[in-house]
Protein backbone atom coordinates (compact mmCIF):
# COMPACT_ATOMS: atom_id res chain seq x y z
CA UNK A 1 0.00 0.00 0.00
CA UNK A 2 1.38 3.39 -1.00
CA UNK A 3 2.00 5.69 1.94
CA UNK A 4 0.90 9.30 2.01
CA UNK A 5 4.34 10.24 3.26
CA UNK A 6 5.85 8.89 0.03
CA UNK A 7 3.38 10.89 -2.04
CA UNK A 8 4.22 14.08 -0.16
CA UNK A 9 7.92 13.36 -0.55
CA UNK A 10 7.45 12.86 -4.28
CA UNK A 11 5.58 16.19 -4.44
CA UNK A 12 8.45 17.90 -2.66
CA UNK A 13 11.04 16.36 -5.00
CA UNK A 14 9.05 17.24 -8.11
CA UNK A 15 8.45 20.80 -6.99
CA UNK A 16 12.10 21.27 -6.01
CA UNK A 17 13.53 19.93 -9.26
CA UNK A 18 10.93 21.29 -11.68
CA UNK A 19 10.00 24.94 -11.31
CA UNK A 20 7.70 24.49 -14.31
CA UNK A 21 5.29 22.79 -11.89
CA UNK A 22 4.72 26.14 -10.20
CA UNK A 23 3.65 27.76 -13.44
CA UNK A 24 -0.08 26.87 -13.42
CA UNK A 25 -0.40 27.84 -9.75
CA UNK A 26 1.57 31.06 -10.20
CA UNK A 27 -0.64 31.89 -13.20
CA UNK A 28 -3.76 31.33 -11.07
CA UNK A 29 -2.29 33.46 -8.27
CA UNK A 30 -1.60 36.20 -10.84
CA UNK A 31 -5.20 36.10 -12.09
CA UNK A 32 -6.45 36.17 -8.53
CA UNK A 33 -4.15 39.07 -7.68
CA UNK A 34 -5.40 41.13 -10.63
CA UNK A 35 -9.01 40.40 -9.66
CA UNK A 36 -8.24 41.43 -6.08
CA UNK A 37 -6.70 44.72 -7.19
CA UNK A 38 -9.69 45.39 -9.46
CA UNK A 39 -12.06 44.74 -6.54
CA UNK A 40 -9.93 46.93 -4.27
CA UNK A 41 -10.23 49.75 -6.81
CA UNK A 42 -13.94 49.05 -7.45
CA UNK A 43 -15.17 52.09 -5.44
CA UNK A 44 -12.99 54.41 -7.53
CA UNK A 45 -13.49 55.87 -10.98
CA UNK A 46 -13.62 54.50 -13.66
CA UNK A 47 -14.19 51.03 -12.14
CA UNK A 48 -16.99 52.44 -9.98
CA UNK A 49 -19.07 52.84 -13.13
CA UNK A 50 -19.02 49.07 -13.57
CA UNK A 51 -18.96 47.80 -9.99
CA UNK A 52 -20.91 50.60 -8.28
CA UNK A 53 -24.47 49.57 -9.24
CA UNK A 54 -24.22 45.85 -8.26
CA UNK A 55 -22.40 46.61 -4.99
CA UNK A 56 -24.94 49.34 -4.15
CA UNK A 57 -27.96 47.14 -4.83
CA UNK A 58 -26.63 43.89 -3.33
CA UNK A 59 -24.79 45.14 -0.23
CA UNK A 60 -25.44 48.86 0.12
CA UNK A 61 -24.01 52.27 -0.69
CA UNK A 62 -21.66 52.33 2.31
CA UNK A 63 -19.50 49.59 0.82
CA UNK A 64 -18.51 51.99 -1.95
CA UNK A 65 -16.87 54.28 0.57
CA UNK A 66 -13.62 54.23 2.51
CA UNK A 67 -13.01 52.29 4.77
CA UNK A 68 -16.26 50.23 4.64
CA UNK A 69 -15.27 48.87 1.21
CA UNK A 70 -12.60 46.82 3.00
CA UNK A 71 -15.30 45.03 5.03
CA UNK A 72 -16.76 43.70 1.80
CA UNK A 73 -13.42 43.06 0.06
CA UNK A 74 -12.79 39.50 1.45
CA UNK A 75 -16.31 38.46 0.44
CA UNK A 76 -15.91 39.86 -3.07
CA UNK A 77 -12.45 38.32 -3.33
CA UNK A 78 -13.88 34.95 -2.31
CA UNK A 79 -16.62 35.22 -4.96
CA UNK A 80 -14.02 36.18 -7.57
CA UNK A 81 -11.90 33.20 -6.52
CA UNK A 82 -14.87 30.86 -6.99
CA UNK A 83 -15.46 32.17 -10.52
CA UNK A 84 -11.77 32.04 -11.38
CA UNK A 85 -11.47 28.51 -9.98
CA UNK A 86 -14.29 27.26 -12.17
CA UNK A 87 -13.31 29.11 -15.35
CA UNK A 88 -9.49 29.17 -15.22
CA UNK A 89 -8.52 27.06 -12.22
CA UNK A 90 -10.08 23.95 -13.78
CA UNK A 91 -7.85 24.27 -16.85
CA UNK A 92 -4.74 25.08 -14.80
CA UNK A 93 -5.33 22.10 -12.47
CA UNK A 94 -5.56 19.90 -15.57
CA UNK A 95 -2.28 21.36 -16.84
CA UNK A 96 -0.60 20.78 -13.46
CA UNK A 97 -1.82 17.17 -13.41
CA UNK A 98 -0.51 16.47 -16.90
CA UNK A 99 2.81 18.08 -15.96
CA UNK A 100 3.05 15.70 -12.97
CA UNK A 101 2.22 12.75 -15.22
CA UNK A 102 4.94 13.75 -17.71
CA UNK A 103 7.50 14.22 -14.95
CA UNK A 104 6.45 10.91 -13.39
CA UNK A 105 7.09 9.25 -16.74
CA UNK A 106 10.47 11.06 -16.86
CA UNK A 107 9.36 13.00 -19.97
CA UNK A 108 10.39 16.62 -20.27
CA UNK A 109 7.09 18.50 -20.44
CA UNK A 110 6.60 21.18 -23.08
CA UNK A 111 4.13 23.61 -21.59
CA UNK A 112 2.61 24.59 -24.96
CA UNK A 113 1.92 20.94 -25.80
CA UNK A 114 0.53 20.26 -22.33
CA UNK A 115 -1.77 23.27 -22.65
CA UNK A 116 -3.05 22.12 -26.06
CA UNK A 117 -3.73 18.58 -24.79
CA UNK A 118 -5.55 19.74 -21.67
CA UNK A 119 -7.56 22.35 -23.56
CA UNK A 120 -9.27 19.53 -25.46
CA UNK A 121 -10.71 18.31 -22.15
CA UNK A 122 -11.63 21.77 -20.87
CA UNK A 123 -15.37 21.19 -20.83
CA UNK A 124 -15.05 18.10 -18.61
CA UNK A 125 -12.58 19.89 -16.31
CA UNK A 126 -14.94 22.85 -16.10
CA UNK A 127 -17.88 20.54 -15.21
CA UNK A 128 -15.94 18.73 -12.47
CA UNK A 129 -14.86 21.95 -10.77
CA UNK A 130 -18.30 23.53 -11.23
CA UNK A 131 -20.00 20.50 -9.69
CA UNK A 132 -17.60 20.46 -6.76
CA UNK A 133 -18.07 24.21 -6.22
CA UNK A 134 -21.87 24.02 -6.45
CA UNK A 135 -22.02 21.18 -3.92
CA UNK A 136 -19.74 23.04 -1.52
CA UNK A 137 -21.56 26.36 -1.75
CA UNK A 138 -24.96 24.67 -1.70
CA UNK A 139 -24.04 22.86 1.51
CA UNK A 140 -22.62 26.07 2.98
CA UNK A 141 -25.87 27.96 2.28
CA UNK A 142 -28.08 25.14 3.55
CA UNK A 143 -26.09 24.74 6.78
CA UNK A 144 -26.10 28.45 7.60
CA UNK A 145 -29.80 28.80 6.73
CA UNK A 146 -30.73 25.80 8.87
CA UNK A 147 -28.71 27.11 11.81
CA UNK A 148 -30.22 30.60 11.52
CA UNK A 149 -33.74 29.12 11.28
CA UNK A 150 -33.06 26.90 14.30
CA UNK A 151 -31.91 29.78 16.49
CA UNK A 152 -34.49 32.31 15.29
CA UNK A 153 -37.34 29.91 16.02
CA UNK A 154 -36.76 30.16 19.77
CA UNK A 155 -34.02 27.58 20.47
CA UNK A 156 -31.15 28.88 22.58
CA UNK A 157 -28.82 25.85 22.50
CA UNK A 158 -27.73 23.12 20.13
CA UNK A 159 -25.65 20.30 21.64
CA UNK A 160 -25.10 22.45 24.77
CA UNK A 161 -23.68 25.33 22.74
CA UNK A 162 -25.33 28.67 21.99
CA UNK A 163 -26.09 30.61 18.81
CA UNK A 164 -22.92 32.69 19.13
CA UNK A 165 -20.77 29.57 18.77
CA UNK A 166 -22.82 27.88 16.05
CA UNK A 167 -23.19 30.95 13.84
CA UNK A 168 -19.51 31.86 14.27
CA UNK A 169 -16.81 29.32 14.96
CA UNK A 170 -19.21 26.35 14.68
CA UNK A 171 -20.32 27.28 11.17
CA UNK A 172 -16.73 27.94 10.16
CA UNK A 173 -15.68 24.48 11.44
CA UNK A 174 -18.62 22.79 9.69
CA UNK A 175 -17.77 24.56 6.42
CA UNK A 176 -14.11 23.63 6.76
CA UNK A 177 -15.02 19.97 7.38
CA UNK A 178 -17.40 20.00 4.41
CA UNK A 179 -14.71 21.57 2.21
CA UNK A 180 -12.21 18.85 3.19
CA UNK A 181 -14.68 16.00 2.60
CA UNK A 182 -16.06 17.30 -0.70
CA UNK A 183 -12.62 18.10 -2.06
CA UNK A 184 -11.44 14.64 -0.96
CA UNK A 185 -14.30 13.00 -2.86
CA UNK A 186 -13.44 14.88 -6.08
CA UNK A 187 -9.65 15.01 -5.70
CA UNK A 188 -8.90 12.10 -8.09
CA UNK A 189 -11.43 13.12 -10.75
CA UNK A 190 -9.01 15.38 -12.64
CA UNK A 191 -6.06 12.90 -12.51
CA UNK A 192 -8.38 10.15 -13.82
CA UNK A 193 -9.73 12.45 -16.54
CA UNK A 194 -6.30 13.67 -17.67
CA UNK A 195 -4.18 10.54 -17.21
CA UNK A 196 -6.73 7.90 -18.21
CA UNK A 197 -8.50 10.16 -20.70
CA UNK A 198 -11.71 8.93 -19.10
CA UNK A 199 -15.15 10.39 -19.64
CA UNK A 200 -16.53 12.94 -17.21
CA UNK A 201 -18.91 10.54 -15.43
CA UNK A 202 -16.32 7.78 -15.26
CA UNK A 203 -13.73 10.19 -13.82
CA UNK A 204 -16.09 11.36 -11.09
CA UNK A 205 -17.27 7.84 -10.24
CA UNK A 206 -13.72 6.52 -10.15
CA UNK A 207 -12.72 9.41 -7.89
CA UNK A 208 -15.56 8.52 -5.51
CA UNK A 209 -14.42 4.89 -5.60
CA UNK A 210 -10.83 5.79 -4.78
CA UNK A 211 -12.03 8.17 -2.06
CA UNK A 212 -13.95 5.27 -0.49
CA UNK A 213 -11.02 2.86 -0.88
CA UNK A 214 -8.36 5.26 0.39
CA UNK A 215 -10.64 7.21 2.72
CA UNK A 216 -8.27 8.13 5.54
CA UNK A 217 -5.31 8.69 3.23
CA UNK A 218 -7.34 10.92 0.91
CA UNK A 219 -8.87 12.95 3.73
CA UNK A 220 -5.40 13.40 5.24
CA UNK A 221 -4.02 14.36 1.83
CA UNK A 222 -6.50 17.25 1.63
CA UNK A 223 -6.64 18.07 5.34
CA UNK A 224 -2.93 18.57 6.10
CA UNK A 225 -2.29 21.27 3.48
CA UNK A 226 -5.61 22.91 4.37
CA UNK A 227 -4.57 23.16 8.01
CA UNK A 228 -1.94 25.68 6.87
CA UNK A 229 -4.83 27.81 5.67
CA UNK A 230 -6.51 28.01 9.11
CA UNK A 231 -4.39 30.95 10.39
CA UNK A 232 -5.33 32.84 7.21
CA UNK A 233 -9.05 32.12 7.84
CA UNK A 234 -8.62 33.43 11.39
CA UNK A 235 -6.89 36.62 10.18
CA UNK A 236 -9.59 37.24 7.58
CA UNK A 237 -12.51 36.32 9.89
CA UNK A 238 -13.18 39.85 11.13
CA UNK A 239 -12.21 42.60 8.65
CA UNK A 240 -13.72 45.28 10.93
CA UNK A 241 -11.20 44.28 13.59
CA UNK A 242 -8.29 44.70 11.15
CA UNK A 243 -9.66 48.09 10.06
CA UNK A 244 -10.08 49.50 13.56
CA UNK A 245 -7.06 47.92 15.26
CA UNK A 246 -4.56 48.18 12.40
CA UNK A 247 -5.51 50.08 9.24
CA UNK A 248 -8.05 49.42 6.44
CA UNK A 249 -5.43 48.31 3.91
CA UNK A 250 -4.51 45.46 6.29
CA UNK A 251 -7.58 43.67 4.88
CA UNK A 252 -6.06 43.89 1.40
CA UNK A 253 -2.74 42.57 2.70
CA UNK A 254 -4.57 39.70 4.43
CA UNK A 255 -6.33 38.90 1.15
CA UNK A 256 -2.99 38.88 -0.70
CA UNK A 257 -1.54 36.57 1.96
CA UNK A 258 -4.62 34.37 1.57
CA UNK A 259 -4.19 34.06 -2.20
CA UNK A 260 -0.48 33.28 -1.88
CA UNK A 261 -1.09 30.55 0.70
CA UNK A 262 -4.11 29.07 -1.06
CA UNK A 263 -2.78 29.12 -4.64
CA UNK A 264 0.93 28.56 -4.18
CA UNK A 265 0.91 26.25 -1.16
CA UNK A 266 -2.45 24.56 -0.51
CA UNK A 267 -3.65 24.07 -4.11
CA UNK A 268 -0.20 23.06 -5.34
CA UNK A 269 0.33 20.51 -2.56
CA UNK A 270 -3.15 18.97 -2.89
CA UNK A 271 -3.18 18.83 -6.71
CA UNK A 272 0.34 17.47 -7.15
CA UNK A 273 0.12 15.02 -4.22
CA UNK A 274 -3.26 13.72 -5.41
CA UNK A 275 -1.81 13.08 -8.86
CA UNK A 276 1.23 11.41 -7.30
CA UNK A 277 -0.87 9.26 -5.00
CA UNK A 278 -3.10 8.26 -7.88
CA UNK A 279 -0.13 7.30 -10.07
CA UNK A 280 1.64 5.43 -7.26
CA UNK A 281 -1.55 3.57 -6.39
CA UNK A 282 -2.12 2.72 -10.05
CA UNK A 283 1.37 1.34 -10.53
CA UNK A 284 1.32 -0.80 -7.41
Amino acid sequence: MVSLKKAYLKTYQLAKGNPVLFLPFAAFAAFEFVSLIILYLAPRMPLKLLFGPPIRSLWGERFLHYPANFILLPKLASLARVCLTVVIGSLLTGIATLLVYNLYKKNKPVIKEVFKTVLKQYLSLFCIVLLFTLIFYGLDKITSKLLIKYFTSGHTNLLFLGAKFWLGLGLMTLNFTAAVLIQSAFVYAIPVLIIEKATLTKAILKSFGLFKKLFLKTVALVLFPMLIYIPVIVIQYDPAFLITRLFPEAVLLASILSLIVSSLVVDLTITVTAANLYLMNKNE
Binding site: V34, L41, P43, R44, M45, L47, H65, Y66, P67, P248
Partner: protein, 288 residues
Protein backbone atom coordinates in the same frame (compact mmCIF):
# COMPACT_ATOMS: atom_id res chain seq x y z
CA UNK B 1 6.11 44.68 -39.99
CA UNK B 2 4.49 41.25 -40.33
CA UNK B 3 1.09 40.45 -38.81
CA UNK B 4 2.52 38.25 -36.02
CA UNK B 5 4.79 41.04 -34.77
CA UNK B 6 1.91 43.53 -34.94
CA UNK B 7 -0.29 41.16 -32.95
CA UNK B 8 2.43 40.73 -30.31
CA UNK B 9 2.80 44.50 -30.11
CA UNK B 10 -0.97 44.89 -29.60
CA UNK B 11 -1.04 42.26 -26.87
CA UNK B 12 1.88 43.97 -25.13
CA UNK B 13 0.11 47.32 -25.38
CA UNK B 14 -3.08 45.91 -23.86
CA UNK B 15 -1.09 44.14 -21.14
CA UNK B 16 0.60 47.44 -20.28
CA UNK B 17 -2.61 49.44 -20.49
CA UNK B 18 -4.40 47.37 -17.82
CA UNK B 19 -1.90 47.95 -14.96
CA UNK B 20 -1.35 51.59 -16.00
CA UNK B 21 -5.10 52.33 -15.95
CA UNK B 22 -5.41 50.51 -12.61
CA UNK B 23 -2.57 52.54 -11.12
CA UNK B 24 -4.04 55.77 -12.49
CA UNK B 25 -7.47 54.98 -11.06
CA UNK B 26 -5.78 54.40 -7.70
CA UNK B 27 -4.12 57.81 -7.81
CA UNK B 28 -7.16 59.87 -8.79
CA UNK B 29 -8.26 62.62 -6.40
CA UNK B 30 -11.88 61.43 -6.35
CA UNK B 31 -14.42 61.14 -3.51
CA UNK B 32 -12.79 57.93 -2.37
CA UNK B 33 -9.37 59.60 -2.06
CA UNK B 34 -11.00 62.41 -0.04
CA UNK B 35 -12.69 59.85 2.24
CA UNK B 36 -9.34 58.14 2.74
CA UNK B 37 -7.66 61.40 3.71
CA UNK B 38 -10.51 62.25 6.07
CA UNK B 39 -10.36 58.84 7.72
CA UNK B 40 -6.70 59.45 8.62
CA UNK B 41 -7.43 62.87 10.10
CA UNK B 42 -10.53 61.56 11.89
CA UNK B 43 -8.48 58.77 13.42
CA UNK B 44 -6.30 61.38 15.13
CA UNK B 45 -9.44 63.09 16.43
CA UNK B 46 -10.88 59.76 17.62
CA UNK B 47 -7.75 59.13 19.68
CA UNK B 48 -8.32 62.42 21.53
CA UNK B 49 -12.04 61.75 21.92
CA UNK B 50 -11.29 58.33 23.42
CA UNK B 51 -9.02 59.81 26.07
CA UNK B 52 -9.41 63.62 26.14
CA UNK B 53 -7.67 64.13 29.49
CA UNK B 54 -4.45 62.49 28.35
CA UNK B 55 -4.23 64.63 25.25
CA UNK B 56 -1.26 67.03 25.11
CA UNK B 57 -2.23 70.56 23.93
CA UNK B 58 -0.06 70.40 20.83
CA UNK B 59 -1.82 67.19 19.78
CA UNK B 60 -5.18 68.97 19.95
CA UNK B 61 -3.83 71.91 17.95
CA UNK B 62 -2.34 69.59 15.35
CA UNK B 63 -5.59 67.68 14.94
CA UNK B 64 -7.72 70.83 14.78
CA UNK B 65 -5.37 72.26 12.20
CA UNK B 66 -5.54 69.04 10.15
CA UNK B 67 -9.35 69.07 10.30
CA UNK B 68 -9.42 72.76 9.32
CA UNK B 69 -7.08 72.19 6.39
CA UNK B 70 -9.25 69.30 5.28
CA UNK B 71 -12.47 71.31 5.32
CA UNK B 72 -10.75 74.21 3.51
CA UNK B 73 -9.23 71.94 0.89
CA UNK B 74 -12.48 70.06 0.17
CA UNK B 75 -15.26 72.60 0.91
CA UNK B 76 -17.72 70.84 -1.40
CA UNK B 77 -17.33 67.44 0.24
CA UNK B 78 -19.98 66.44 2.78
CA UNK B 79 -17.08 65.38 4.99
CA UNK B 80 -16.01 69.04 5.31
CA UNK B 81 -19.06 69.65 7.55
CA UNK B 82 -18.22 66.55 9.56
CA UNK B 83 -14.67 67.85 10.00
CA UNK B 84 -15.98 71.17 11.27
CA UNK B 85 -18.29 69.49 13.77
CA UNK B 86 -15.39 67.29 14.86
CA UNK B 87 -13.37 70.42 15.69
CA UNK B 88 -16.22 71.71 17.88
CA UNK B 89 -16.53 68.30 19.48
CA UNK B 90 -12.79 68.20 20.25
CA UNK B 91 -12.90 71.61 21.94
CA UNK B 92 -15.95 70.70 23.97
CA UNK B 93 -14.64 67.33 25.09
CA UNK B 94 -11.36 68.94 26.18
CA UNK B 95 -13.47 71.48 28.14
CA UNK B 96 -12.57 74.47 25.96
CA UNK B 97 -16.27 75.34 25.76
CA UNK B 98 -15.83 78.87 24.41
CA UNK B 99 -13.78 77.70 21.45
CA UNK B 100 -16.27 74.89 20.85
CA UNK B 101 -19.20 77.29 20.79
CA UNK B 102 -17.27 79.72 18.57
CA UNK B 103 -16.67 76.89 16.11
CA UNK B 104 -20.38 75.94 16.15
CA UNK B 105 -21.37 79.58 15.52
CA UNK B 106 -18.95 79.57 12.61
CA UNK B 107 -20.74 76.52 11.20
CA UNK B 108 -24.15 78.22 11.57
CA UNK B 109 -22.86 81.25 9.68
CA UNK B 110 -21.09 79.21 7.02
CA UNK B 111 -24.05 76.90 6.32
CA UNK B 112 -26.84 79.38 7.00
CA UNK B 113 -28.95 77.94 4.19
CA UNK B 114 -29.10 74.51 5.82
CA UNK B 115 -31.64 74.52 8.64
CA UNK B 116 -30.70 70.97 9.67
CA UNK B 117 -27.04 71.90 10.16
CA UNK B 118 -27.97 75.10 11.99
CA UNK B 119 -30.34 73.23 14.32
CA UNK B 120 -27.66 70.61 14.97
CA UNK B 121 -25.13 73.33 15.79
CA UNK B 122 -27.48 75.14 18.16
CA UNK B 123 -28.23 71.81 19.83
CA UNK B 124 -24.51 71.21 20.39
CA UNK B 125 -24.14 74.73 21.79
CA UNK B 126 -26.91 73.82 24.26
CA UNK B 127 -25.14 70.56 25.06
CA UNK B 128 -21.93 72.46 25.81
CA UNK B 129 -23.80 74.58 28.39
CA UNK B 130 -25.28 71.41 29.90
CA UNK B 131 -21.75 70.01 30.28
CA UNK B 132 -20.85 73.19 32.15
CA UNK B 133 -23.91 72.64 34.32
CA UNK B 134 -25.56 75.80 32.97
CA UNK B 135 -29.07 74.51 32.29
CA UNK B 136 -30.79 77.90 31.83
CA UNK B 137 -28.31 78.83 29.09
CA UNK B 138 -28.76 75.39 27.51
CA UNK B 139 -32.54 75.72 27.67
CA UNK B 140 -32.31 79.10 25.95
CA UNK B 141 -30.52 77.41 23.02
CA UNK B 142 -33.04 74.58 22.87
CA UNK B 143 -35.91 77.11 22.79
CA UNK B 144 -34.06 78.81 19.92
CA UNK B 145 -34.25 75.55 17.98
CA UNK B 146 -38.00 75.35 18.69
CA UNK B 147 -38.51 78.88 17.46
CA UNK B 148 -36.21 78.99 14.46
CA UNK B 149 -36.00 75.42 13.23
CA UNK B 150 -39.18 73.58 14.34
CA UNK B 151 -39.38 71.41 11.22
CA UNK B 152 -35.88 69.99 11.48
CA UNK B 153 -35.08 66.63 13.08
CA UNK B 154 -33.64 68.38 16.14
CA UNK B 155 -36.63 70.73 16.22
CA UNK B 156 -38.96 67.74 16.42
CA UNK B 157 -36.91 65.95 19.06
CA UNK B 158 -36.12 68.88 21.33
CA UNK B 159 -39.41 69.24 23.32
CA UNK B 160 -39.13 65.61 24.47
CA UNK B 161 -35.38 66.07 25.07
CA UNK B 162 -36.15 68.94 27.47
CA UNK B 163 -38.73 66.82 29.32
CA UNK B 164 -36.23 63.95 29.54
CA UNK B 165 -33.74 66.31 31.19
CA UNK B 166 -36.19 67.00 34.02
CA UNK B 167 -37.01 63.29 34.29
CA UNK B 168 -33.34 62.43 34.77
CA UNK B 169 -32.96 65.22 37.32
CA UNK B 170 -36.01 63.92 39.26
CA UNK B 171 -38.06 67.09 38.76
CA UNK B 172 -41.53 65.65 37.95
CA UNK B 173 -43.41 68.95 38.00
CA UNK B 174 -41.04 70.54 35.55
CA UNK B 175 -41.12 67.35 33.47
CA UNK B 176 -44.94 67.44 33.26
CA UNK B 177 -44.88 71.14 32.41
CA UNK B 178 -42.33 70.46 29.67
CA UNK B 179 -44.46 67.61 28.35
CA UNK B 180 -47.55 69.85 28.30
CA UNK B 181 -45.55 72.41 26.35
CA UNK B 182 -44.37 69.69 24.01
CA UNK B 183 -47.96 68.50 23.45
CA UNK B 184 -49.18 71.97 22.60
CA UNK B 185 -46.17 72.49 20.29
CA UNK B 186 -46.77 69.20 18.48
CA UNK B 187 -50.50 69.89 18.16
CA UNK B 188 -49.79 73.30 16.62
CA UNK B 189 -47.33 71.72 14.20
CA UNK B 190 -49.81 68.95 13.28
CA UNK B 191 -52.50 71.56 12.60
CA UNK B 192 -50.08 73.49 10.39
CA UNK B 193 -49.50 70.47 8.12
CA UNK B 194 -52.77 68.46 8.25
CA UNK B 195 -52.82 64.91 6.87
CA UNK B 196 -49.13 64.83 6.00
CA UNK B 197 -46.34 62.55 7.23
CA UNK B 198 -45.32 65.47 9.46
CA UNK B 199 -48.77 65.62 11.15
CA UNK B 200 -48.69 61.83 11.63
CA UNK B 201 -45.30 62.08 13.36
CA UNK B 202 -46.54 64.96 15.50
CA UNK B 203 -49.66 63.02 16.58
CA UNK B 204 -47.52 60.01 17.49
CA UNK B 205 -45.30 62.30 19.58
CA UNK B 206 -48.37 63.72 21.32
CA UNK B 207 -49.35 60.16 22.25
CA UNK B 208 -45.78 59.53 23.44
CA UNK B 209 -45.92 62.65 25.65
CA UNK B 210 -49.22 61.57 27.24
CA UNK B 211 -47.81 58.11 27.92
CA UNK B 212 -44.71 59.71 29.52
CA UNK B 213 -47.14 61.54 31.80
CA UNK B 214 -48.92 58.21 32.43
CA UNK B 215 -52.12 59.86 31.21
CA UNK B 216 -53.40 56.66 29.60
CA UNK B 217 -56.86 57.93 28.74
CA UNK B 218 -55.44 60.89 26.78
CA UNK B 219 -52.97 58.55 25.07
CA UNK B 220 -55.86 56.27 24.04
CA UNK B 221 -57.93 59.24 22.86
CA UNK B 222 -55.02 60.52 20.74
CA UNK B 223 -54.39 57.10 19.20
CA UNK B 224 -58.10 56.54 18.54
CA UNK B 225 -58.33 59.94 16.87
CA UNK B 226 -55.36 58.94 14.70
CA UNK B 227 -57.15 55.71 13.70
CA UNK B 228 -60.00 57.84 12.35
CA UNK B 229 -57.88 60.61 10.82
CA UNK B 230 -55.41 58.39 8.99
CA UNK B 231 -57.79 55.55 8.09
CA UNK B 232 -57.05 54.45 4.53
CA UNK B 233 -54.10 56.82 4.25
CA UNK B 234 -51.37 54.98 6.15
CA UNK B 235 -50.92 51.56 7.74
CA UNK B 236 -52.40 51.64 11.23
CA UNK B 237 -50.90 48.43 12.64
CA UNK B 238 -48.44 50.16 14.94
CA UNK B 239 -51.16 52.38 16.42
CA UNK B 240 -53.29 49.29 17.07
CA UNK B 241 -50.38 47.48 18.70
CA UNK B 242 -49.74 50.51 20.93
CA UNK B 243 -53.40 50.66 21.92
CA UNK B 244 -53.55 46.95 22.76
CA UNK B 245 -50.34 47.24 24.80
CA UNK B 246 -51.81 50.09 26.86
CA UNK B 247 -55.05 48.17 27.50
CA UNK B 248 -53.26 44.97 28.48
CA UNK B 249 -50.25 46.34 30.38
CA UNK B 250 -51.43 49.63 31.87
CA UNK B 251 -55.20 49.37 32.24
CA UNK B 252 -55.45 45.65 32.95
CA UNK B 253 -58.09 45.19 30.26
CA UNK B 254 -56.99 42.12 28.27
CA UNK B 255 -60.43 41.73 26.63
CA UNK B 256 -60.14 45.13 24.95
CA UNK B 257 -56.52 44.41 23.98
CA UNK B 258 -57.59 41.14 22.33
CA UNK B 259 -60.44 42.93 20.52
CA UNK B 260 -58.00 45.46 19.03
CA UNK B 261 -55.51 42.76 18.01
CA UNK B 262 -58.32 40.82 16.30
CA UNK B 263 -59.17 43.95 14.30
CA UNK B 264 -55.49 44.23 13.33
CA UNK B 265 -55.40 40.59 12.14
CA UNK B 266 -58.66 41.05 10.20
CA UNK B 267 -57.71 44.34 8.55
CA UNK B 268 -54.05 43.54 7.87
CA UNK B 269 -53.91 39.76 7.24
CA UNK B 270 -50.53 40.03 5.46
CA UNK B 271 -48.90 42.23 8.10
CA UNK B 272 -45.61 41.16 9.73
CA UNK B 273 -47.36 41.86 13.04
CA UNK B 274 -49.97 39.13 12.52
CA UNK B 275 -47.95 36.32 14.09
CA UNK B 276 -46.79 38.38 17.10
CA UNK B 277 -50.41 39.58 17.51
CA UNK B 278 -51.64 35.96 17.54
CA UNK B 279 -49.01 35.09 20.16
CA UNK B 280 -50.12 38.02 22.33
CA UNK B 281 -53.81 37.01 21.99
CA UNK B 282 -52.88 33.47 23.08
CA UNK B 283 -50.99 34.76 26.09
CA UNK B 284 -53.73 37.20 27.09
CA UNK B 285 -56.45 34.57 26.69
CA UNK B 286 -54.58 32.26 29.07
CA UNK B 287 -54.39 35.11 31.59
CA UNK B 288 -58.11 35.93 31.41
Amino acid sequence: MNSSAARKKNILLIALLIPVSLILSGCADDDYAIEKRYWRVKKQADKILANPHACPPNQLEKTVSALNSFSEKYPKSSLAVDAEFSIANLYIITKDYESGRAQLKKIIKKYEKSKELAAQSVFFIGNSYELEDKWPAALEQYKRILQNYPETVKGIEIPIYIAQHYKVKFEPDKMNAALQEAISHYKTMAARYPLTPMSYTMDMLVAQCYSEMKDWQSTINTLNAMLKTYNGKVSLEEIMLNLSAIYSQKLDNPAKAIEILNVLIKEYPKSRYVNPAKDIIKRLSEKQ
